[in-house]
Each structure stands twice: as C-alpha cells, then as structure tokens.
C-alpha cells in the first residue's frame, strides 16, 4: 500500500467518500449502550505519557456527565486544598499532547484547500449532527445544574477519587468544598473536560477529518504523531466525557439512549431524549429543553391555549403549540369551507393566537383520523397561508399535506 506524506489535492474517488465517512463518525458520536472501558483503559495512559504526565492510579467511572462534572470539580478542589503544588486539571496538557500535536503535523502535511474541503464535508457534517444537537444541550444542562448539586450523587464518585488519601475526612471535605464554593459564589470548575465521543467532529481538524486523511487519503506521518492520533481516535470511540486530572481521571459512560428528530435535534415525545445509565437525562422537544413536569403536560396533546400562553419561555411555548394543535380550536375560529369528504378549512383572526404567531390570519385544516373514535376523531393542522391564497378547497389543502396532487388525493380510497 502506498502512503503519502503530503496531500496537495484530493482525487474524485476520495471526494466521493466524504459523505459516507462522515456518517460513520456521526454514528460513533451518537453511539449508545455499552461503554468500551477496556479500550479507554488501554489508550488514556498513552495520552498522559505523550503529555509527559504520570498516569493517575485513581480512575473513576461515572454514569452521567452531571455526576462527573460535579465530582471532578469537587475532587479537584479537595486535592488543591491538600497539595499546594498539585497540577489539578490537566485537560490542556493532555489535549495538547494528542490533538494539538496531530493538528500541527496534519496542517503541515496537507494543503489548505484540501484541509478545508475535508473539514467542511466531514467534520462539519459530524459537528452539526453531534456537537450542536447533543454536546450543547448536555453542556448547558450540566452547567445549569451545578448550582443545584445533590450531595449524595457526588459522594460515591468523589470518594473513589480520593479514597486511601483522605479516608474519613472525605464527607466533611466534600461538604466544606461545596459550602465554601457556594458561599463564595464560586462556580465549580466542571468545565475542565474532554468530550470523548461527542467531540469527534469538534473544532478544526477533528478526529473525523484527521482520520479521513489517514484512512481514505493514506496520509502517514511520523510514528509519534500516528500514535497520538490513534490514542485520540480510540478514546473518542470508546467513552463519553472525560475529566483528566493529575490525581485522577474521571470518565463517563455512554448514554443509554439518544433520540433525535428529522433535523438531527435532540427530541422525544415519549420520555427523555438523551439518558445516561444512572437515569439522568434531558427532556427535549425538537431541540428545546423542558423540565419534566411541563414536558408531561405538553406531550398529552390536551393543553388549552390559555395554558400554553402561561409558559414563559417562548421556544417552549412554540413547541407546546405544535404538540397541542387542537388548542387552537378553543379560539373561536371561523369555518371557511367544508368538503363532501369531511375536510374543513378554518380561519382564526383577531385572537391572541394571531398575536402569538404574529400572523393576522391563521388557517387550520380539520380532517378525520380513522384510528380514533368519534367525536374525538377530528385532527387539526396548521395551514400555510400561501396555500390558502391559491385554494380554499380543504381537499386540495389535505392533498398538499399528503404531498399529492388533488387528482391523486381524490383517488385515495384507503385511509386508516
């Protein structure tokens, strides 16, 4: 096999493989289920070695990023109190040892235009799919939750990080660290983390791009760089978040589930959209986060419009409207047209709905859902006002919603 040490252009065959390659890494980024602890345990020491750091003896596995973030930051705080000279979080050193070194070497070996083309097509796709949808939501949620730490959730993990060194004083130290931090208004340094699987498309020349150049374009660099790149790749393929410290490494298990909508955003109308082994997770509807109580109300489909208006967050309100379309019928719409087939076209004007949507006219299509029993078998959908400009025939509107022509819709006999 012929390898290259420099790439100035891509072949058509290489370009044609970008999309499939990106998909492969998106699958890695969104993988759920069993965590590959063995691979992590094999390659993380290599990363520390490349960073000229001694690999800690305390490796703590946690079952959600909330526990990891709280525990790692509190444990770091405890170690800093115990040892003045402790290095603490070593994320910068560790990441620099792998990604930074590999980045620099790849940058030198690959022409700018090629790099950019691959980055856009591969990393960009992976970033959009994995990063934006998942990392931001989880990061944000953990950030919000740090202030509401639950001591019991932290105890076991922190205990593991400092066991043998501060034995009986752990609980007191934890309580002191949290109280001290809170009283001083200090945010716990939860953010000294490495994204693992969620960062496979992250930033410039991420894991996906670099490995496209290696796997598909047969780029081969020095042995040291290839070892660093391999370690980065293996770790990214094996675990979720990582908190590397000079005294311990805390590493998070994969999520047990990740659900997304057709636009790649975290979404589920049947429970948490992302969930970890300890049960922690997020309720998300089309990328918008909900508290559990409100989520349970919104997904019933039985909210009234006035209940929806009471939701303070605008984005949550919009999603609630989307999942409770029948709420609009309580706003005294006017029937414009009804077909022999039973389809109806309704108009709402001069209502709070119009203010809510900033639309002077809001149209609804009413149609029969054969799976339901009368009288609760009429469903309502919002209608594009541009479509109503062209036709006020509710059968034709229904055809548009079915992506059929009117002639095709009129031949549709079987609806269940």
């Amino acid at each position: 096999m012929e390898y290259r040490t420099r790439i100035d252009s891509l072949t058509e065959k290489e370009k044609s493989q970008m999309a499939d390659y990106a998909k492969k890494w998106i699958d890695v980024g969104l993988k759920t289920g069993e965590t590959d602890w063995d691979t992590f345990d094999k390659y993380m020491p290599i990363v520390y070695k490349k960073a000229n750091l001694k690999y800690p003896s305390r490796i703590i596995r946690v079952n959600s990023p909330l526990v990891g973030a709280l525990s790692a930051s509190v444990a770091e705080g405890i170690w800093k109190k115990r040892r003045d000279a402790v290095r603490g979080a070593v994320r910068g050193a560790v990441r620099g040892a792998v990604r930074g070194a590999v980045d620099g070497a790849v940058r030198d070996a690959v022409r700018g235009a090629v790099r950019d083309a691959v980055d856009d097509a591969v990393d960009g796709a992976v970033r959009d799919a994995v990063d934006g949808a998942v990392r931001d939501a989880v990061d944000g949620a953990v950030r919000d939750a740090v202030g509401d730490a639950v001591r019991d959730a932290v105890d076991d993990a922190v205990d593991g990080a400092v066991r043998g060194a501060v034995d009986g004083a752990v609980r007191d130290a934890v309580q002191t660290a949290i109280s001290t931090a809170r009283n001083a208004g200090v945010s716990l340094a939860w953010h000294n983390l490495w994204g693992g699987q969620f960062w496979v498309g992250y930033w410039w020349y991420g894991v996906a791009t670099v490995n496209f150049l290696f796997d598909i374009c047969k780029l081969k660099l020095s042995k040291d760089i290839m070892e660093r790149a391999e370690a980065n790749r293996k770790i990214s393929e094996s675990v979720n978040y990582i908190w590397p410290n000079s005294e311990f490494v805390m590493v998070c298990a994969r999520p047990t589930k990740i659900n997304r909508d057709d636009q790649g955003r975290l979404h589920s109308d049947a429970g948490m959209a992302i969930q970890y082994p300890d049960g922690w997770g997020l309720y998300m509807i089309h990328g918008i986060r909900f508290e559990e109580d409100l989520f349970d109300k919104v997904i019933t489909g039985k909210m009234s419009f006035s209940e929806i208006l009471k939701i303070e967050n605008t984005e949550q309100r919009l999603q609630a409207m989307r999942l409770n379309p029948n709420a609009l019928m309580s706003e005294h719409p006017k029937l414009i047209n009804k077909s022999e087939r039973g389809n109806e076209l309704w108009l709402i004007e001069g209502s709070e709905v119009n203010t809510f949507y900033d639309a002077p006219k809001v149209y609804l299509l009413g149609f029969i859902d054969p799976s339901k029993e009368a009288p609760n078998n009429v469903m309502y959908e919002e209608v594009n006002p541009d479509d109503v400009e062209r036709t006020q025939d509710p059968d034709e509107i229904n055809a548009i919603h079915c992506k059929l022509t009117l002639a095709e819709y009129q031949k549709l006999e079987y609806e269940t």
Partner: protein, 115 residues
C-alpha cells in the same frame, strides 16, 4: 381494519404509499428485510411493512425521496395496541413513500406531521 384486499395506494396515519412504475436510476439501497419501518415514531408506535416469511422488502433513497420494492403482497401494520391505524395490504410492486406534513406558524415552514 384490514379487509385483506390488496391495493396500490393508501394512507396509513402520516405514511402514504403510492405505486409507481420504477425506482429512479441511481437510487441507493438503504435497507432490506422481511420487516421494514416506513414511519418512525418516538413513542415506538412505528408503521411497519411486514412481508411473508422468506420475502425481502427493499428500501431505496434518491434526492430525498424513498422508494420501496415489494416482491409480493405486504401488510402495513401500526405498532400500537389502542387507537391504532388499521392494517392495510399492498399489492406487489414499486412504491414511493411520502410522509404527511403540515405548516408551522411558529417556524414558518412545512414540517413532518407528528403521529
């Protein structure tokens, strides 16, 4: 409910199957099996095409459109116990699958319908 009559055009909740002449050239095979989900549901109430034992249904995709190759008659089943969409039987042939959509005033775009 299913009257066992095969047909070539039906709406099953938000899933619409319509018989067409052929699968466009260049379409990529994305899935095959005796059972194929043609309408996913977050709550697990999927719309599933089920062929007879030993028969393979093939799903293709091109330009954002989905096509199905049904070598023999298949049932379209709703995986839900209560208020389910009745089973429909489709004749052998090539089909295009559409998913119903509706407008969202909040986002000012057409969106896939939630079933």
């Amino acid at each position: 409910m299913n009257n066992n009559k095969e047909h070539e055009f039906g709406r099953h909740g938000e899933v619409i199957l319509k018989k067409v002449k052929s699968i466009p050239k260049g379409a990529k095979l994305i899935e095959e099996g005796q059972k194929i989900i043609v309408g996913h549901s977050e709550s697990g109430h999927h719309h599933v095409l089920e062929a007879e034992h030993g028969v393979t249904i093939k799903m293709y995709e091109i330009d954002g459109k989905t096509y199905l190759d049904l070598p023999s008659k298949v049932d379209l089943v709703h995986q839900k116990s209560a208020e389910s969409h009745g089973t429909q039987t489709f004749a052998p042939g090539i089909y295009i699958r559409e998913i119903r959509q509706s407008y969202s005033y909040g986002e000012r775009i057409m969106r896939r319908t939630i079933d």
